[in-house]
């Protein structure tokens, strides 16, 4: 039965992708992209990747849709000319397809426990996590402790993207007609005159924040962690901004705090790494942070997950405000 379900989901994915590329209305394409992200998150869940499914649903179906819609509001909603050099592109794509299809016949059999990817490091991680790190979620242990360098790099990539978007879009004036900063157009008001979304939204925001904090701190015992929590908390504030207007959201959480969150998270992560050096061991070695190595690992993972959550929240919210505050041309 799982086989039928898997085949059904994969076919839906292909149909959605064809719909995304075919439609000329970009709004429709972005909505279909959200559905695509949700379907692929379901697929990840069937393939036993719970953390990845949660991240894809939160980041792909949630934040990515909002960012695309923000960009669409500032550019045009329709494609004017659809495709150029259609037959040449189709020929190139068809030949590339045949080459990669030929390669798939050499791939390891689906679910084979003796495939090369399941040798070497992966069984070592599964075996040694209860001994070195002693937390149930192996993915968080590998992400935070065994492969901590990669996650440090990732936090800095998120931070750099935030800085990049702030460089590009942070001043309010945009487009040909520069309006004086005192005058706000009607787009800043939000949905305040609609009672039902406003009441329900304001009811939901604290629960979404609570869930975000739950996911942050439960990353060690189940699927979760810093990235998902950061996306969820950003989503709560984005919901508030969509309902109450972007000015009020900036009054509630000013841009200075978002900058502090962005920078503070990356500094916290780097600081934990440096603390390893100061206390006599290597960079990003958490075993010296506590009384015994396992307690040190726990403390280290909690601190760096907090750092990751802070940076992701600050960055995603800053990017959203950068798009939302931009004046339309």
């Amino acid at each position: 039965m799982t086989i039928v379900f898997g085949i059904f989901l994969l076919t839906l994915l292909v149909i959605t992708a064809l719909g995304i590329v075919h439609t000329r209305n970009l709004f429709v394409a972005v909505m279909l992209l959200g559905i695509f992200s949700l379907l692929i998150a379901l697929n990840f869940f069937i393939l036993d990747a719970a953390d990845v499914a949660l991240t894809e649903a939160a980041v792909g179906a949630g934040i990515s849709t909002v960012l695309f819609l923000g960009a669409l509001a500032l550019t045009s909603e329709r494609e004017r000319l659809g495709t150029r050099h259609r037959w040449l592109s189709l020929a190139v794509v068809a030949s590339a397809t045949l080459v990669v299809l030929y390669a798939t016949f050499d791939k390891p059999r689906f679910g084979d426990p003796n495939a090369p990817v399941h040798q070497h490091v992966a069984p070592w991680y599964l075996e040694k996590t209860p001994e070195y790190v002693d937390i149930p979620n192996v993915v968080t242990a590998v992400l935070g402790s065994f492969r901590g360098y990669d996650t440090l790099g990732e936090v800095f990539v998120v931070f750099t993207a935030g800085i990049g978007v702030l460089f590009l879009l942070s001043s309010r004036r945009g487009g040909a007609n520069h309006r004086p900063p005192g005058e706000r157009d009607a787009s800043g008001i939000g949905l305040r005159e609609h009672v039902i979304p406003r009441v329900v939204g304001r009811l939901l925001v604290p629960f979404i924040l609570l869930f975000g904090l739950y996911v942050q701190f439960h990353g060690e015992y189940g699927p979760g962690g810093g990235f998902q929590a950061g996306a969820l908390i950003a989503a709560a504030f984005i919901l508030y901004a969509l309902i109450e207007g972007e000015d009020r959201t900036l009054a509630a959480v000013p841009q200075r705090w978002l900058n502090a969150l962005m920078v503070g998270g990356a500094l916290l992560y780097g600081g934990v790494g440096l603390a390893g050096i100061v206390l006599g061991s290597n960079f990003l070695d958490y075993s010296v942070l506590g009384a015994d190595p396992v307690a040190g690992q726990h403390l280290g993972i909690i601190l760096i997950e907090a750092g990751v959550g802070m940076t992701v929240t600050g960055t995603l919210l800053s990017i959203f405000h950068a798009f939302a505050a931009r004046d339309r041309a």
């Binding site: 994969l10 970009l26 980041v59 990515s64 045009s76 993915v139 990539v157």
Partner: protein, 118 residues
Amino acid sequence: MELLGLYHYWVFVVLLMIGFYAVVAKVNLIKKLIGLSLFQSAVFLLYITMSKVSGGTAPIVLPGMVDPLYSNPLPQVLILTAIVVGISTTALGLGIVVRIKEEYGTTEEHEIQEIDRR
């Protein structure tokens, strides 16, 4: 199981090529970014497909499990990082597209090249 595995890989190839076609053939810049996002998702599907072990469960080590078989956690860690990096680059790309629209007045690639040539 053989059919399902091959079907996973073929769907990966089809999604990869659909995304690639959108990047290459479409003229609107935002459509290209959407195609790039599809391309990335196809690659994630490939990695997570390779991490599945038949009869395994999610790699969460709970006490009291008898002789468990877990799916591979390593590709999941890599893809977790990749998803977040993907959204970061998409956000930066969207910022660049918005600025291009403000400077050139259009987001269609051939019109931008036309304006540049003048």
